[in-house]
Symmetry: C2
Subunit: 341 residues, 2 copies
DNA sequence: CTGAAAGCGCTTACAG
DNA sequence: CTGAAAGCGCTTACAG
């Protein structure tokens, strides 16, 4: 492949600038001292030859790639998409590229992806841990810094950034109770994930605090199942008068199902969802939600990761920084409050 | 860095399997012939030693990285997010990782990102071309296969996958005309992009076809500007009675502005948007839209790209495959049709 | 403050 | 059908 011959190497730059190869390397990487004069000559030569550092050679010498990995359950999910977006921006501003992969909640797939990331020698990883930490062990073994978002990664030294799941849910459910609701259903799925289980705990805490009986339906993941559930619930005379939905997808399903059943919100059924939705404020009854700071979640995670990459923070014996970001309770009117926003 | 010493190399595997290094390489990459017996011994040795191919060394030898690049304007935009998601899945199923970057419609940023992708020796690129093709020249010069999506990349040999922008708009606007609307405003921004300009053309064609006068407001990009525009329009006695919005963001702004102004849809103002929205069917008046096949767009683009990477298609003298995907006209009720969906 | 030499782990002609 | 040697482009101790 002799088209390669047209690509400039350090040696070419060194020759053109009349210096040694190592000096070029130092100038490019900003290590060690290079006299101002040589630095200039090198810069000129680089521009003239169109030199670009070959990352493969750099990595082969033992350096980490200027790349980080991001593993999220689903790239098309707006919440995770926003996280990824914030991370990518942060990485780009630090001169790093971002390998983004969706685990699709498929364990084998994620394992393969982790292996590939090892093969690429990534400098760090931000992950929404859908699986036991053993799955990312190949990376921890290489002491690649890791930040877990949305959920912790127990058994690792990973930093973590999560949100106030329990507190946010408690506030939301208490708000429904303040509106006079006695029967409040809690609807969603993925109850084994940290975030959801914490939200359920918050719901339970609020209900128990008001001496109300929790009604939890935490295995309702499709629109169909949601419709079925609501139809069943509404048959009872003494049915729930409010719903707390556990994430954006669950909220959408509940909204859809209620619409199809012709149940008006909040008149016949009040609703608060965890996670904001794009058009939430434009719905017939603007949706009251617990809003997660998706962009900030990504940002903070990236910040922690790059602190580790830069070696600012120690990893030895240190069990990681744990960050809990506040959520925002956005009152519109699906909860029963009159004024929308 | 002597922790390296614990990582197995081809030489280690070769020794353990009692074969030459090259045979290991051939077995791993599936080139050339390796006897069944040696293949088995090698597989055993690989498993035992936990060998993983070092991508940096592979790339340094002149091979392309098992990585593709994706450049989109904005990762948090649900339309582009879906495209990226489909591309990533396709790539993963082919054993490739995906470098996803947002250009943020910032030309300098994108140039830097292209340079970094060159440095990583990516095997292919899928790009939403926001800028002249000269910006991706470093990649074309290396004959990296490129597929343009959403917009063409004139002046390159890139394959392209776009949607029926003109046709979709024409159908939508004609539908409004069939509802008896005589004054239909066309609202949006980014008119210099291919997709939007084609949509405007479709709008104009439909209007002219009905001998109606086009009213184009194609520099309305923020909610504020949208509100201002609508307020101004509604002051006139003879104001437009329908709006055609040019993309998902414009549609959202129009919906928001109308809500704030207390204008009911479709009674006071009919509306059709290009691009579907998540909760479109749950709005007070479910939104009629021209739906783009975002996932399929990504899929088709990935398929074309991997055809090129596999060398199935020639690039020399060939000006690329041009694919135009159909859009779907989803009639709900914001256009004035009674039945929602 | 700067340079020459060695080597990272892989694969590609070339022999055999 | 399989192997030994060279080299991809870079950076890291080590001298000077």
């Amino acid at each position: 492949v002799n088209r390669k011959s047209s690509i400039a190497t350090v040696a070419d730059v060194a020759r053109a600038a009349g210096v040694g190869a190592i000096t070029v390397s130092r100038a490019v990487n900003g290590n060690g001292y290079v006299s101002e004069e040589k630095r200039k000559r090198i810069a000129v030569a680089i521009k003239k030859l169109g030199y670009r550092q070959n990352q493969a050679a750099r990595v082969l010498k033992g350096n980490r790639a200027r790349m980080i990995g991001v593993i999220i359950p689903d790239l098309a999910d707006s919440f995770f998409g926003k996280c990824a977006s914030a991370i990518e921006s942060y990485a780009a501003s630090h001169g790093y590229m971002t390998l983004i992969v969706a685990s699709n909640r498929d364990r084998r797939l994620q394992r393969r992806e982790v292996d590939m990331m090892v093969g690429q020698n990534i400098a760090g990883l931000i992950v929404v841990p859908s699986f036991p930490a053993v799955d990312i062990k190949p990376l921890t073994e290489m002491s690649v810094p890791i930040v877990a978002i949305d959920r912790p990664a127990p058994g690792t030294a990973a930093d973590e950034v999560v949100v106030e799941n329990l507190e946010g849910s408690k506030v939301a459910v208490s708000h429904l109770i303040d509106h006079g609701h006695q029967r409040i259903a809690c609807v969603g799925y993925d109850k084994d994930s940290f975030a959801i289980s914490r939200r359920i705990q918050g719901y339970v805490a609020a209900m128990k605090g008001a001496r109300l009986k929790p009604e939890i339906y935490d295995e309702v993941s499709t629109l169909d199942e949601t419709s079925k559930l609501l139809r069943k619930l509404l048959k009872k005379i003494d049915h729930p008068t409010a719903i707390f939905s556990l994430n954006n997808v669950a909220t959408q399903h509940v909204l859809c199902a209620l619409r199809h059943l012709g149940i008006s919100v909040p008149k016949k059924m009040a609703l608060i969802g965890f996670d904001d939705l794009e058009l939430a404020s434009l719905l017939p009854s603007p949706l009251t939600v617990v809003r997660q700071p998706a962009l900030n979640l990504g940002n903070q995670a990236a910040r922690l990761l790059f602190d580790r990459i830069a070696g600012t923070k120690m990893t030895e014996g240190d069990f990681g920084v744990k960050l809990v970001l506040p959520v925002e309770f956005v009152i519109r009117s699906s909860c029963g409050c009159a004024a929308g926003n």
